[in-house]
Subunit: 479 residues, 2 copies
């Protein structure tokens, strides 16, 4: 029997049939693409058609944007979209008890929505080939709708957002998952987006730049470097995947343990109540004070004609870009982007406990977090920052990960963060299976959890950070 992993949709016999039933990657490939190469060719074609160019520009040529004279905050002349401001952070206990930094302030809640529809018994996702100026390769696979509130309430005065009507109430489709989820807490202040999956049975016109793809097809793309964008990954992570209707007999032990871990009845080291208590304990343990300050007052950060950067050259810088399409009708604009100084490493350690795959999460505070702490990947850092620090100051498990032999690495892909805000923010995502002698009792800010438990936490938002959600989406590609 097929089972949904969505605990909460099993609330009672009055409920509709579990939404997860058909979210399975074991389905026959039945989309518009029959091979991954076809999809890649389509993305390349879209790059040609959209023909965007992105060039760095100094701030004084960044049309529409200016530094407020009193604060030095970088803002749009409409006062909307987002601003680059200063943030004063006090965090205790932490390696650095207080600091100031630039931060992206974007309090409005946007929509990241995937429209799904069944064709021949298999659910398909309506995916978009979307250009984002911060992507190295510009066009990546994106959700059906990826819109800020300014976008969808038409501050841009541009065209309407295609398919938006499926994601705002009153809507005709059926909501399968819908929650607020956070984004990069080190770079954004309190940023969340609405992650939403809606199923329709209407006829849907497929506009240029959009394609129906099965979940399995999207997942195959996710195993390739830099194809599936962050927004698509986070929406994929909240889909109520089920344990597919296969036996675990012929599978290798890792895949078998992963399949078992999707089963809500699978035994786990802790209960969900214990997981919530662990997050609560860590939220109460860390004291995080955040104060917005003028960007001019960020100590150690300096502004030149074309960047705002840290004196050390580390962390990140703020730069401006000029975005143009060959066809001006398609669009042209300028905007600031945040450019990380070095790539990050995001690793999920996994292990079998009683034959069920568990992943090791970290309760990790972040400068711009709305709720102090979220569950993060086991390793979540920029290795370059720690290159010269003694072991005691290096993130837990970083050295373990750097020394892991290839045979334990189950997933290893370079993926981009949000190209609408970050310039070339490439991170290396890895899923590693630890060896049997690895300790099952981690430090108190870590916890081993089953995959179905993560999916329960995800339903509520504010529990897993965006990097952990990306890794969960990656983990689902390993069935």
């Amino acid at each position: 029997m097929s089972r949904t992993t969505t605990l909460l949709d099993r609330a009672g016999p009055g409920d509709r049939a579990p939404a997860g039933r058909r979210f399975t990657t074991s389905a026959t490939v039945d989309g518009r693409f029959t091979t991954s190469d076809e999809c890649l060719a389509w993305l390349a074609e879209q790059r040609e058609i959209q023909a965007y160019s992105v060039e760095r520009v100094p701030f004084d040529q960044l049309a529409g944007w200016h530094f407020a004279p009193d604060t030095g905050n970088l803002m749009h002349h409409t006062g909307r979209f987002f601003t680059i401001e200063g943030l004063e952070v006090q965090l205790n206990p932490f390696r650095v008890p207080s600091w100031t930094q630039p931060i992206i302030v974007q309090r409005e809640i946007g929509i990241l929505g995937i429209l799904v529809k069944e064709f021949d018994g298999v659910l398909h996702c309506l995916m978009q080939a979307k250009m984002e100026p911060g992507n190295r390769n510009l066009v990546q696979l994106s959700p059906t709708v990826q819109a800020t509130r300014s976008n969808y309430t038409r501050v841009h005065k541009g065209r309407t957002i295609p398919y938006l009507e499926y994601f705002t109430a009153p809507r005709s489709g059926r909501v399968i998952a819908d929650s607020l989820q956070s984004e990069q807490g080190g770079w954004f202040l309190h940023k969340r987006n609405r992650n939403i999956v809606v199923e329709t049975d209407e006829d849907v016109e497929v506009l240029p730049g959009f394609r129906w793809m099965t979940v399995a097809q999207v997942q195959r793309m996710l195993r390739l470097d830099d194809v599936v964008n962050m927004d698509a990954r986070t929406v994929l992570s909240i889909m109520p995947f089920e344990r597919p209707e296969t036996t675990t007999g012929g599978l290798d032990p890792f895949r078998a343990a992963l399949l078992r871990s999707l089963d809500p009845e699978a035994p786990t080291q802790h209960t969900v109540t214990e997981a919530i208590s662990w997050l609560t304990e860590n939220k109460a343990r860390f004291e995080l004070h955040q104060r917005r300050i003028p960007l001019l007052d960020t100590a150690g950060w300096h502004r030149t004609a074309d960047e705002i950067a840290h004196v050390s050259g580390g962390y990140f810088s703020i730069v401006g870009v000029d975005v143009r399409a060959r066809d001006r009708e398609v669009g042209a604009w300028m905007q600031p982007l945040l450019r990380p100084a070095a790539p990050g490493r995001l690793v999920l350690l996994t292990r079998q406990i009683n034959g069920v795959l568990h992943v090791l999460l970290q309760a990790r505070p972040a400068a711009g977090a709305l709720d102090i702490v979220e569950a993060a990947p086991t390793v979540h850092c920029t290795p370059q920052t720690f290159r010269t620090l003694p072991t005691a100051h290096r993130p837990q498990f970083l050295d373990y990960v750097l020394d892991t032999p290839e045979r334990q690495v189950r997933f290893d892909t370079w993926l981009s963060e949000e190209g609408g805000r970050f310039l070339h923010a490439l991170n290396r995502y890895q899923i590693i299976e630890v060896e049997e002698q690895f300790p099952t009792t981690p430090p108190p800010n870590f916890m081993w959890l089953g995959v179905h438990q993560l999916m329960t936490l995800l339903q509520f938002g504010n529990c897993l950070n965006v990097e952990a959600r990306s890794l969960l989406a990656c983990l689902h590609t390993l069935w």
Copy 2:
């Protein structure tokens, strides 16, 4: 068979036995008190022993507190506890699109904990007779521990907090529920406390001012005016109550429907996924901008020698009190309190849908909310504010509630809000059963939910506001 209502503790066979098993009010009364009068007599005796007096004092006599010269913010000389600052609020859509007001800022997370232990097969709660200066009757039934972070990290330099060791890690007991829950969003900025229930099987010394009581005894006290304090109510609300082992045959239809609604298998109008989507929709619908401003800059508010009040005389005022015990050793201090101008009305409308009791919740934004919107009681307002306004501007269902005949009122009690921060903040809490012809399809900012669904939402925090949690605790007294 007895069933727990805690969905999430049923995560898998590897989990421990459901914690809810013995949280039942049908148990034999077996505590230290055999009658409610005994408990009331004990509280009266505690009032005599503790012998506190509370008197209003002008601000210039409020020892330890001062107005910061540049901002006019009211603060303690240590910079801790809490401050009274200004808040600028923009809320859209709302009757009043923007305003400024004083707000209590207390970002640190305190502990509200109840220690439970089984005696003769029945769980007992260790309750405290605690004085809070803002309570009309000073001493009320409180949780085992009710401590701010400043308290328990000893900023007070006072005595240690009894029983604190059960609630901070590493602890010897077993955590039964543990989540961050919000407090009054109109009066506090982003305030949450850790609500925690811990079970022990150790011998526990019962200190003066503490007593073991069964849940049923505490619930009987909750039906009386002004006996069980807010902190006790919110912790009671997160206890994983189960459907007791009785049949619904001999019960009146309301009680039978309530018992059915505790059963996680009971059919409900919506799924939990739909409930989360409804909250998400409303969080995305309301744009809430909060900005801390100097208290001096709150328009329409003026400061006299002994209060900060609104020119209209409405809303609330900030005052100072001098708290003294007859025995100075016991304690003496001064502090500001927020004094509401008029009592509030907090009403839960309930109805049977397919024989299962549902309650009507409102997605309600609040000035100081951390996350824009929480689920609130059906009616949550200060009726005096709306006395002279035309119907179109009056809260939905307020007029319905004011006209409800007595026979539909299932619960009607005056209860105090947090006496450590509010002076005589008495609210009238009501649970009303609507008549059969009442519409089952409410306006889009309302939703009918089953009781077991509320308990699932409660496990995660940030879903139900403190008034809704109080009413849920009250509803549990009606089995």
